[in-house]
Amino acid sequence: METRILCALLVSTALVIAACGKKEEPKTSPAPAPAPSVQPAPAPAGVAVSSVTAGSAIGVDKKVTVPTDSFARSDTMYISVDTSGSGTAKLDAKWTYRKGNNVAVVKEDSMTINSTGPATHEFHVSKPDGWPAGDYEVEITLDGQSAGSRKLTVK
């Protein structure tokens, strides 16, 4: 009788050990979702100034036909601004006169454009009684940021 009990005990012990030794199948966690690919942000479709040219005449395409930085007293001074890109932007032109350390604002003008591609814009100034001889400068800003300038002379 004792032998039977002993055997039964051994068998049950063996079963328990076997059960404990059984390895659990590793749970398969779902494959991690692929990280969303980071697309580069599209380049802003903004307007950019590509060139600023001064001259004493322009054509119907608003480009300078007589490029110069030196003007006669009776000239109209033109500044032609080429832009690329599309969108709405504000262009400003500030004309100044410098004499020694003194600077006088000659004229300020601005235009808001709605561009769909490369375009050319012009600003011009004239003075009915003639320009005083001296040094002038025109600065172009695009949406408040300096986009170029030209030093001009009237002789």
């Binding site: 608003k62 006169y97 003008d109 814009h121 012009e122 004239s126 005083p132």
Partner: protein
């Protein structure tokens, strides 16, 4: 500004573009006045009206703050 600086008060200026300009209407404006300023000819007001028919029903009724498309010259 120094007293010996020249007087630039009579300087005339202007601008034009090959792109469409956006003009914000101010009090006292009319399409004729805007055409005169932008094109040098008040009679060209109809060009501005035609370009803005989506927001203008009557060429005599424009309001301060309205943004008008000004076609290139």
């Amino acid at each position: 500004m120094s007293d010996d600086m020249p007087d630039f008060s009579n300087v005339k200026g202007g601008s034009s573009s090959t792109a469409t300009k956006i003009y914000v209407v101010v009090a006292g404006d009319s399409l004729s006045k805007i055409a005169k300023r932008e094109y040098g000819n008040a009679k060209e007001w109809n060009r501005i009206f035609e370009a803005n028919k989506d927001i203008l029903k009557d060429p005599d009724k424009i309001y301060p703050g309205q943004k008008l498309k000004i076609p290139p010259k």
